[in-house]
Symmetry: C2
Subunit: 220 residues, 2 copies
């Protein structure tokens, strides 16, 4: 039975990768740059999206957001709409990650034509989302100072396939024992030379670098 299970899981993963490629094609056809944004619960994914919208709105950048949630609540989607951008919500029905099928459904509900950038906010989870390609152009993880400096050592998989790391909540550094060198060494070991931005979505500190990185991708 265990062998059957492995075979079935492999088939599902293959199907997922095929659908991820189809998703990517849709994004490319529409000329939209896309990000798979991952983090543990409460690290600041939605805050980063809001700050990104606020930071790029003056340049006329149009941003769509796809919100992955395990529960049927619209807390994050409401925040995106309040910031003036369209959001499509995926309720995973208790599932711990987004996959390419769920994203396909969301894309079909979103008019990509006017958009320059689509941010997919994955379910808050440092483990499972790392295993499922969605078809986005890049993968970004938000790490959070209060989560502690040992996270790259304990949750290595999510740091491995990553394109950009955002270290958030630097405003809390004075109140927390967090060894930045130890944290960065852990990341470097898993993903040498990873593009990293150290920010506070609360104070806005350090967000310029992230916005510049994004603008360079959007204008391509």
């Amino acid at each position: 039975m265990s062998k059957n299970r492995i075979k079935i899981v492999e088939k599902i993963l293959n199907a997922n990768d095929r659908l991820a490629k189809a998703n990517r094609q849709k994004f490319d056809d529409a000329g939209v740059y896309t990000i798979n944004l991952m983090a543990s619960p409460g690290a600041g994914k939605t805050s980063l999206i809001i700050k990104t919208i606020e930071g790029l709105i003056a340049d006329g950048v149009q941003i769509g957001v796809i919100e992955g949630d395990t529960a049927p609540v619209t807390i994050d989607s409401d925040k995106i709409n309040a910031a003036g951008m369209p959001a499509v919500q995926i309720n995973t029905g208790g599932e711990c990650h987004l996959d390419a099928v769920m994203l396909e459904t969301a894309i079909d509900q979103m008019d990509l034509t006017p958009l320059d950038l689509v941010i997919v906010e994955n379910v808050g989870n440092l483990i499972c989302p790392a295993a499922f390609e969605l078809g986005t152009h890049s993968k970004v993880v938000v790490a959070s100072i209060p989560e502690g400096d040992d996270k790259p050592y304990k949750y290595p998989n999510i740091y491995r396939g990553l394109d950009v790391l955002i270290i958030n909540k630097t405003d809390l550094l004075p109140y927390i024992d967090f060894d930045m060198d130890y944290f960065r060494q852990g990341v470097e070991m898993l993903n040498p030379g990873l593009t990293t931005f150290t920010v506070s979505c609360k104070t806005g500190e350090g967000l310029d670098g992230w916005l510049e990185w994004l603008k360079a991708r959007i204008s391509k």
Copy 2:
């Protein structure tokens, strides 16, 4: 294929529940009280365990710890050993939760005879661990102030089957927008009258209530 997959998953869940019962029997036979400790990454599970060991050691309470990790690192087990108590590590090999089979393996490596309390530190994840019974006497979740006050609304499943909630990192309340009433309303909706302790594992504030709750269970 999808139907087969569901059947197989159901069989696995049934097998898990049977094994959880067997685990519980082993704990009961040894006269050990056991806890399944769950939280998202960095909420303070290990810190709570260390504070619990420090708080009960003077009463002669013997505590064993089973550490669930997705990666083969001994960071948490080393901390438990340094606090003077035995730890057995389960490396889930990338899996996002503990199950009853993994716990069975760990129990067999642990001498339960001298122990009064076994704390099972689950993998850092607010979603998947909620679906797998381990056979412990109670389930405890550590929530963390910096994770934000909307977590019960977004991750309801883990709050539903819970026996005790620990709200940790109250020392950070002055620096974070966290509406305690909103958070507690969300919990109350899912799990009315849930036993809750508001603590700081950093300053030690509020831990007395938790230790008293535990002592009452151990003496039973």
